[in-house]
């Protein structure tokens, strides 16, 4: 424990990241460049999220990590263990007990409250990147609010699939100003981004960008008048807890095409089962 500074990063680095975070919170949705550090894990494993978590963690915090909603995947376990060892903070899998939650690809089902911080791992922070490869040009487009291109992407979706087929990393507009990539969360989670009581921080390690949504920020998913945004999910109840309104993972359970749908948010599902809810596939 004494071999590391609290929460792994040195204080100067944390200070630099906190400044970027404050700027991000002051300009919701704006991508703030920061000097991303080498972390003891490969890019793509959440280096951006880990640096943000390290910069905001205090010894009194309770830390939770989810990966696609689950607390028990390799990535979640290793990041949780990393901060247990380098910060000595308490950890939990219970959403409402956590003060800092680092996430990859999900927002917890349970509504977050004031005093909580949600830290997203972001692979590609630039929502315009796939259509405009030049960074100089995308920066200019953001600064001049030229967002027609974003709708071209959605147009292409409809022309090809008959509906907006983008199902994750669905672009949003923040406070009527910046178009933002919400990280690869399912679009089912998009409505939770807006008006959230918790602070939302986004870290992209490889791309060296930080952005943020302060509490109760207006976040609108882009759409067309005749093809409005829809938060979709698999049309099934959870097989384990019977929940009708949660985001589901599809599991293949045998070689005969058998499958079941279960909540991707493991904590939510377990809490419901503990409270006596039972799905059709529960043992």
């Amino acid at each position: 424990m004494n071999a590391y500074n609290f929460a792994y990063l040195d204080e100067q680095t944390k200070r630099m990241i906190r400044r970027a975070l404050l700027k991000g919170l002051a300009i919701p949705g704006y991508q703030v460049p920061f000097a991303s550090r080498e972390m003891p894990m490969p890019y793509g494993w959440g280096t951006g999220g880990v640096q943000v978590s390290a910069a905001v963690l205090t010894p009194e915090d309770t830390f939770k990590v989810i990966d696609q909603g689950a607390d028990d995947t390799t990535n979640a376990v290793s990041i949780r263990t990393f901060f247990q060892r380098t910060a000595g903070v308490a950890t939990t899998t219970v959403t409402h007990d956590a003060t800092v939650i680092q996430t990859r690809h999900r927002i917890p089902e349970e509504a977050l409250g004031e005093g909580q911080i949600l830290v997203y791992q972001v692979p590609i922070p630039e929502p315009l990147r796939f259509l405009e490869p030049r960074e100089s040009e995308t920066r200019k487009m953001h600064s001049l609010e030229e967002y027609g291109l974003m709708h071209v992407k959605l147009y292409e979706d409809i022309s090809r699939h008959g509906h907006i087929a983008t199902s994750y990393a669905y672009p949003v507009k923040v406070e009527g100003r910046y178009v933002m990539d919400p990280s690869p969360i399912p679009k089912f989670d998009n409505p939770k981004l807006g008006d959230m009581a918790a602070i939302q921080l986004f870290g992209a390690g490889r791309e060296q960008r930080i952005y943020a949504l302060p509490p109760y920020t207006q976040v609108v998913s882009l759409d067309f008048e005749d093809h409005p945004f829809e938060a979709t999910k698999a049309d099934h109840p959870c097989g384990m807890c019977g929940a009708q309104d949660s985001y589901l993972d599809e599991l293949i359970i045998d070689d005969a095409g058998g499958r079941m749908f279960v909540c991707s948010d493991t904590d939510y599902c377990e809490a419901r089962q503990a409270a006596g809810h039972k799905g059709k596939d529960a043992a």
Partner: protein, 256 residues
Amino acid sequence: MTPLLSVQGMTKRYGAHIGCADVSFDLYPGEVMGIVGESGSGKSTLLNCMAGHLRPDAGQVVFDTRTDGPRDTVTMSEPERRMLGRTDWAFVHQHARDGLRMGVSAGGNVGERLMAVGERHYGDIRDKATDWLGRVEIDAARIDDRPTTFSGGMQQRLQIARNLVTGPRLVFMDEPTGGLDVSVQARLLDLLRGLVRDMGLSAIIVTHDLAVVRLLADRLMVMKNGRVVEAGLTDQVLDDPQHAYSQLLVSSVLQV
């Protein structure tokens, strides 16, 4: 009558080398002007300065805007200039790939400018894209195909549709028929003539092809070493050139 575009003292230097020097002219609504000259004569530099792609060292480009009347586009703010570039101005590049998004369908390419000015109804955008593909003689069935699957002539026509969909008043064209087969060129020229006439467009066309300006342009400017050596009515400049260089240029064309 107020000129649609009034260019005054346009000058651009590249270090000691002159890009274009002290070019002035007025373009009136509905006029098509050709700029000819050999490679390096400064015609493309001039075009890019006027269209706001290059910053001139001196001079004004006064455009008669819809809302505020004549404004110098060189000194207006970049957002305003870029807005002009999406609405009242259009730019047709020599190479379609510079003016198209090759990874986006034909319909998306045409629709982009509509979406950029705030259209948010998919059905309407698609209807307008379909209409414009028809006007540039592209089969509506190709609306969802990417331009990479199009021939050179089709790509160029798609670029024109993409540019004209928002009803611009001024079109800049840089060698619009360059690199196309002669038969494809003829079709494109005919199309451009019809569009210019029916939409009442003003256009500035840079080319080294005198046949193109004879068919499309009302007026002609001949450039050499960054300066305008002769200007006038297109057929007068071509049939009775006054300046030594214009005479050389006209007499150098192979007759067929």
